[in-house]
Amino acid sequence: MKSESTVSSVMKWVYVAAGIALFFKMVLLPNVAPELINLSIVDAVVQDAGVSNAVSGIIFRNRLYDTIFEVVVFTIAILGSKYLLANERPFCTVYRFTDHPSVVLARLGATISALVGIELAIRGHLSPGGGFAAGVAGGTAIGLVAITASTEWMQGVYQRWQAATWEKISVLVFLLLAVMTLIGLELPHGELGTLFSGGVVPILNILVAMKVSLGSWAVILIFIRYRGLL
């Protein structure tokens, strides 16, 4: 036992030395990048995708495979946390913020956050933002409401609006549209820079925003249910 711990403490210093050596290697040695020929990546992508935000164009068109599996990984992670927590005993009493200033501030923040989320989702192909950022904004709004509202009420709202079903529907529609784009069917691009332009990209943005905010809602609910709030 004694010699084992000596060995591990020696190895610890070997790791630290290796890390510091790697640090100096990365900082001091120049890392070469190929010189591009006179080609503007942004212009090429914007031309291809027909949306003025080049990052959205790459995510939802040039690297659509990547985004499909990103959505799939997100779905599987949420399913995995639900599955792992399925046999746990729910937390008995959940303490939450009940004083009026907190409630009012959280509701105000939630309203602003939800509006920002909608704006980011519908204009994600024209301005900075996009589906994932919009989904996180929507999830923040739901989380702010969740820390002040009662658990049963949140659960009731989640079930009444059938949020789980909508989450699954948005994933399926996303996959369908992605497959359509990948086999070459494209909607007309429309005029560059207007709200209804870019073919399928705005729709995919809205679907991803729905998926991410409903998914974070599910995660928030199960974490509060099995672990409590504070």
């Binding site: 790791y15 630290v16 990546i41 935000n53 990547d66 792992l84």
Partner: protein, 111 residues
């Protein structure tokens, strides 16, 4: 200079992952490391220009490279999902053997 700071962040996270014994601290270090990696991609993207890669706001040229930014968005979302999953796993582990120290958990689970 900025590059050195980014690498220092990545290494801080890496050392936290391998040297810290507490499982929650390991997850926090992993988040620090992924933050460093994201910052590195943003730094690489800003090599040719600093403007947001959105056409039609009066700028021509000098745009940041959109490809690394789009690539690292995947890492951000996946990092978030992995964190949720790891936290659930840590909750299960800490309930089965009431400690968060990885050494203790390994010791009590070694046959």
């Amino acid at each position: 200079m900025l590059e050195a700071c980014v690498f220092a962040t990545v290494l801080c996270g890496f050392f936290g992952i391998i040297l810290k014994k507490n499982l929650v601290m390991k997850i926090v270090s992993m988040d620090v490391m992924s933050t460093g990696v994201i910052a590195f991609y943003v730094l690489i993207a800003a090599r040719e220009g600093l403007f947001t890669p959105i056409v039609g706001q009066g700028q021509t040229g000098g745009f940041a490279d959109p490809v690394p930014q789009a690539v690292i968005l995947t890492a951000i979302v996946i990092g978030f999902s992995i964190q949720a999953l790891m936290l659930v796993g840590v909750m299960k582990l800490s309930r089965d053997n009431p400690t968060l120290e990885s050494g203790e958990i390994e010791k009590s689970n070694t046959p």
